[in-house]
C-alpha cells in the first residue's frame, strides 16, 4: 500500500521535477534542452491526468451546463414554486442522492419571472379555507426560515419581512361577505380583527373613511417581504442538498402513448412522458433528459407547456379538448413618492375599488396598482408599462382614500405577469388524467409567492407519498376544471 502510493505517477513526478531543474540550471549549456523537455513532460502529464477515468475531459467538445441525462423528477420552471418543490422533495427523501431532482429554468436573470416582479405580500385574508391554511403554513415556514433554509458556513437568511397587516375595506354592498370571510379566517386560525369606520378613523387618522362600511385588519403573520431573498434562499438550500439546476428551455416532450377507455365509452390517448427536451440557451442543441416524473411549475407559461403535450388541442367536448386555463396577464406596479404620506403604521391597504397600496422603505415611497377590468386587459407581448393607466384609473381612487396622495410623484414603475387562472383564480395542484406523470403547480393568480412554501410541500407529498398529508388540497385538483366546477375565492387582488 505504502509502496503503491509512493510510486503513483503524479506524486512521484511532482517531487522529482524541481530537483531536476535545479540540477540542470547548474550545468549551463544543457539548460534549454532540459527546460524544454520539462515543459513538454508537464504538458503530457496534464493531458494524461485529464484523460484518466473520472475526469470530465472528453475527446468531443461539449456545451457546458448541459443537464444530466437522467433524473427522477424534472421541474420545469425555476421560480419560487419550482425551487420550493425541489427543496421539499429533497427534504422528504432524506437520503442524500436518494432522489435525482433537476430544475430547468430558461432565464438565469429571472427578468420576466413573476416571483421577482411581485409585491411580496402575504396575508391570511382569503375566503377559502385552503388558501388561508396555505398562507398560514407559509408564514410559519418564514418564521422559522433559518431552521429550514440555513446552509452551514453561509449567512442566515434575512427575508426583510415587514410586519404590517393587510387592511381590506368593504363598502355597504360587500360588508356581509367580509363578515363571513372573517368568521372563516378566525375558524382556521388566522389573527384578524374587524374595525368599524370610527375605529378605522381612530387607528389611521390619515385615511378618508367615506363609503367604508367595514374593514378587516390582519394582526399577525401578514405583511410583505423581499421575494428575491426567498427565491435565493430556497435555491441555495436545494442546491446544497444536491438538486441539479440547469439553465435551458423545455421545448418539448417525448412520450409513450397508450389508449384507454372511460366508463362511458370515450377513448382517451394517455401519454406517459419519457424524455424532457431541454434546449440550451443561445444554441440549437438540446438534450433529452430521461425522467420518471415532471412537474409543471412554469408560472405564467405553464399553459404553453401543457399544450406541448396536446392538452387543449383535442376535439371540443372531449377531455383532451379542455386546455389548462392558465395564461399570462400583465399587471402594473407604480412606485410613488409622497413625503407627507402615511408613516410606519401604513398597512397593505386594499380598497374596495380594487386599488392597493403599501409602504416601501421609510423614505416616503409607496407602491400601488390595481387589476384592470376583464375587458381591458393589456397586451402581453412585452412588459412595457402603461402610465396612462395610473393617471386614469388608479390615482383618483388612491387620492380619494388617502388625501395626502393628491400630491404625489410617480418615481418609477414596472410590470409583471400574473400566472392567471381564467377558470377560477385559484392554484391548480395535481395530475392531469391524460398525462399520468406530470404534476401541475400553477395558476396562483397573484398569490403564488406567499403560498409557495406550502405548495412545495404539498406537491412533494403528492409525488412521494401519493396523497396530501399536511394540508388537504384536493379541492385544487385539476378535475374541477374538467368537470366545470369552479371554487371561487372572493378576495382576489
Amino acid at each position: 500500500m505504502w509502496r503503491k502510493m509512493f510510486t503513483s505517477v503524479p506524486a512521484f513526478r511532482a517531487l522529482k521535477a524541481p530537483c531536476r531543474s535545479f540540477k540542470s540550471s547548474s550545468r549551463g549549456p544543457d539548460k534549454d534542452f532540459f527546460k524544454d523537455l520539462d515543459a513538454q513532460l508537464r504538458a503530457f502529464r496534464d493531458k494524461a491526468a485529464a484523460a484518466m477515468p473520472g475526469s470530465d475531459w472528453s475527446p468531443i467538445e461539449l456545451t457546458p451546463g448541459l443537464p444530466p441525462e437522467r433524473a427522477d423528477v424534472v421541474i420545469v420552471g425555476g421560480g419560487v414554486v419550482g425551487w420550493s418543490i425541489a427543496y421539499w422533495l429533497k427534504m422528504k427523501a432524506r437520503v442524500r442522492d436518494g432522489l435525482r431532482v433537476l430544475v430547468v429554468e430558461k432565464d438565469p436573470t429571472y427578468s420576466q419571472a413573476s416571483t421577482v416582479l411581485s409585491c411580496g405580500g402575504i396575508r391570511q385574508q382569503f375566503s377559502l379555507k385552503e388558501n388561508i391554511m396555505l398562507s398560514l403554513f407559509s408564514a410559519h415556514f418564514m418564521k422559522n426560515i433559518n431552521n429550514h433554509l440555513w446552509v452551514v458556513n453561509e449567512d442566515p437568511v434575512d427575508l426583510q419581512f415587514n410586519h404590517s397587516g393587510y387592511l381590506f375595506l368593504a363598502s355597504e354592498k360587500s360588508a356581509h361577505i367580509m363578515e363571513e370571510n372573517y368568521r372563516t379566517q378566525r375558524y382556521v386560525g388566522a389573527k384578524v380583527a374587524l374595525l368599524s369606520p370610527s375605529q378605522l378613523k381612530e387607528r389611521f387618522p390619515w385615511m378618508n373613511t367615506e363609503g367604508v362600511a367595514l374593514a378587516s385588519l390582519g394582526l399577525e403573520n401578514e405583511g410583505w417581504f423581499d421575494p428575491w431573498s426567498l427565491l435565493n434562499a430556497l435555491r441555495r438550500k436545494a442546491v446544497s442538498m444536491g438538486v441539479y439546476q440547469c439553465f435551458g428551455e423545455v421545448t418539448g416532450f417525448k412520450c409513450a402513448a397508450n389508449l384507454a377507455e372511460t366508463t362511458d365509452g370515450e377513448v382517451l390517448n394517455v401519454q406517459r412522458i419519457k424524455y424532457v427536451n431541454v434546449r440550451m440557451p443561445n444554441s440549437l442543441e438540446y438534450q433529452p433528459v430521461e425522467c420518471a416524473v415532471v412537474v409543471n411549475a412554469a408560472g405564467a407559461n405553464s399553459g404553453k407547456i401543457a399544450s406541448m403535450l396536446g392538452i387543449g388541442l383535442g376535439p371540443k367536448e372531449s377531455v383532451s379538448g379542455v386546455p389548462l386555463p392558465v395564461e399570462p396577464r400583465k399587471r402594473f406596479v407604480y412606485v410613488v413618492h409622497c413625503p407627507d404620506g402615511p408613516g410606519l403604521d401604513t398597512p397593505f391597504l386594499i380598497d374596495y375599488s380594487g386599488v392597493y397600496c403599501r409602504r416601501e422603505g421609510l423614505g416616503g415611497n409607496y407602491i400601488t396598482g390595481m387589476s384592470p377590468e376583464e375587458t381591458e386587459e393589456p397586451d402581453i407581448s412585452n412588459l412595457d408599462v402603461d402610465h396612462e393607466f395610473f393617471q386614469e384609473k388608479v390615482w383618483h381612487h388612491l387620492a380619494n382614500r388617502i388625501p395626502a396622495f393628491e400630491q404625489l410623484k410617480v418615481s418609477s414603475a414596472w410590470a409583471g405577469f400574473y400566472d392567471y387562472n381564467t377558470f377560477d383564480q385559484n392554484g391548480i395542484i395535481g395530475l392531469h388524467p391524460l398525462v399520468p406523470n406530470m404534476y401541475f403547480a400553477t395558476g396562483f393568480s397573484g398569490h403564488g409567492l406567499q403560498q409557495s412554501p406550502a405548495v412545495g410541500l404539498a406537491v412533494a407529498e403528492l409525488i412521494l407519498d401519493g396523497g396530501f398529508k399536511t394540508i388537504d388540497l384536493s379541492a385544487f385538483d385539476l378535475k374541477r376544471i374538467l368537470l366545470q366546477e369552479p371554487i371561487l375565492e372572493s378576495n382576489i387582488v
Binding site: 503524479p10 517531487l15 452551514v152 405583511g223 408613516g343 410606519l344 403604521d345
Partner: protein, 264 residues
C-alpha cells in the same frame, strides 16, 4: 515520503479549499465576530467536510435547546391553570415576575432554583415580567398570551427575540403599557411596525438595536404611529448624519440637519 503524501492530499483538497475560501470571503462583515474557537473550527472546516458536519450539529443542538426551553407548557396549563403555567415558564427561563396586587417579585436564585409558592395562588394574574437576557422566543411567548393584565414586559438583551416575537405581542394590545426591547440584536424596523397594535403603550425603550439603520428616524416614526407613547433610548439625530461618510462631511457645515434628511 511524507512530503509526497502531503502534496497528493493537498492537491486533492485544493478545489474544495478554493470554494470554501470564496464562500468565506462572501460572508458579510456585518455579523458579530465569532469566538476564537468558532474561528478555529471554521478554519478547519475549509479542509474537512466532517468539521462542517460538526458545526452543523452544533447549530442543530443549539436550536433544539431553544425549542426545548420555549415549548408550550400544555401539561401545566391543563392541570394547574394558565397563570401557574406562565409563572413556571418564566422561572424556568430564569426570568422574574410580579403578580397583580402583590408587591414582591418572584425570581430564581443565582443557580436557577426557585420556590413553588406561586402555585398557592392559581387565580393571580401576572402584571410585570422581566425576561431580560433569557432565551425566550416567539414560541415561548405562547405561554404568556392568557395574561391579559400584563402591563410591563422587558426582554432587554434577549438574543432570540425577533420581529415575529414583536408581531405576536398584539395579544397584549389592551393591557401593555411599558415595553423594553433594548439590546435585542435581531429586531429590525420591519418588526417595530407591528407595535401599532399596542394601543395602550406609554413607554418604549429601543436603545442599542444594532440592526436599525436610522434609529433617529425610527424614533420619529414610532412616535407618530403611537402618539401616546414616549420612546426612549435613541436621540433624534442618531443615524441621520454619518460623520464618517465623506460626501456628507463636506456640506456638513452648511446645513447639517438638512443634508441628513436628504440622505434618507
Amino acid at each position: 515520503m511524507a512530503a509526497s503524501l502531503l502534496s497528493q492530499a493537498m492537491r486533492r483538497c485544493s478545489a474544495h479549499v478554493c470554494a470554501a475560501v470564496a464562500v468565506r470571503r462572501a460572508l458579510s462583515s456585518g455579523a458579530a465576530a465569532p469566538s476564537v474557537f468558532t474561528r478555529f473550527l471554521l478554519k478547519l472546516s475549509h479542509y474537512f467536510y466532517d468539521v462542517e458536519n460538526i458545526l452543523d450539529w452544533n447549530g442543530w443542538l443549539r436550536t433544539q435547546a431553544i425549542i426545548r426551553k420555549n415549548r408550550l407548557f400544555g401539561y401545566a396549563q391543563k392541570n394547574f391553570g394558565n397563570n401557574v403555567a406562565a409563572a413556571y415558564y418564566i422561572l424556568t427561563l430564569r426570568g422574574s415576575f410580579r403578580f397583580a396586587g402583590q408587591s414582591e417579585w418572584f425570581r430564581p436564585d443565582s443557580r436557577g432554583r426557585f420556590s413553588y409558592d406561586f402555585m398557592s395562588t392559581p387565580d393571580a394574574q401576572i402584571e410585570e415580567v422581566d425576561l431580560s437576557g433569557t432565551l425566550i422566543n416567539h414560541n415561548g411567548l405562547e405561554n404568556l398570551v392568557k395574561q391579559n393584565k400584563l402591563r410591563t414586559l422587558s426582554v432587554r438583551g434577549c438574543p432570540e427575540v425577533d420581529d415575529w416575537f414583536l408581531a405576536h405581542l398584539h395579544v397584549f394590545g389592551e393591557s401593555l403599557v411599558e415595553l423594553d426591547l433594548s439590546h435585542c440584536s435581531r429586531i429590525t424596523v420591519g418588526g417595530l411596525a407591528a407595535l401599532q397594535n399596542l394601543r395602550k403603550l406609554e413607554r418604549l425603550d429601543i436603545s442599542g438595536l444594532p440592526r436599525l439603520q436610522n434609529p433617529g428616524l425610527v424614533r420619529i416614526l414610532l412616535e407618530e404611529m403611537l402618539p401616546h407613547c414616549q420612546v426612549s433610548g435613541v436621540e433624534y439625530e442618531q443615524g441621520l448624519i454619518q460623520p464618517d461618510s465623506q460626501e456628507q462631511t463636506e456640506d456638513h457645515h452648511e446645513a447639517s440637519t438638512h443634508t441628513g434628511l436628504r440622505h434618507l
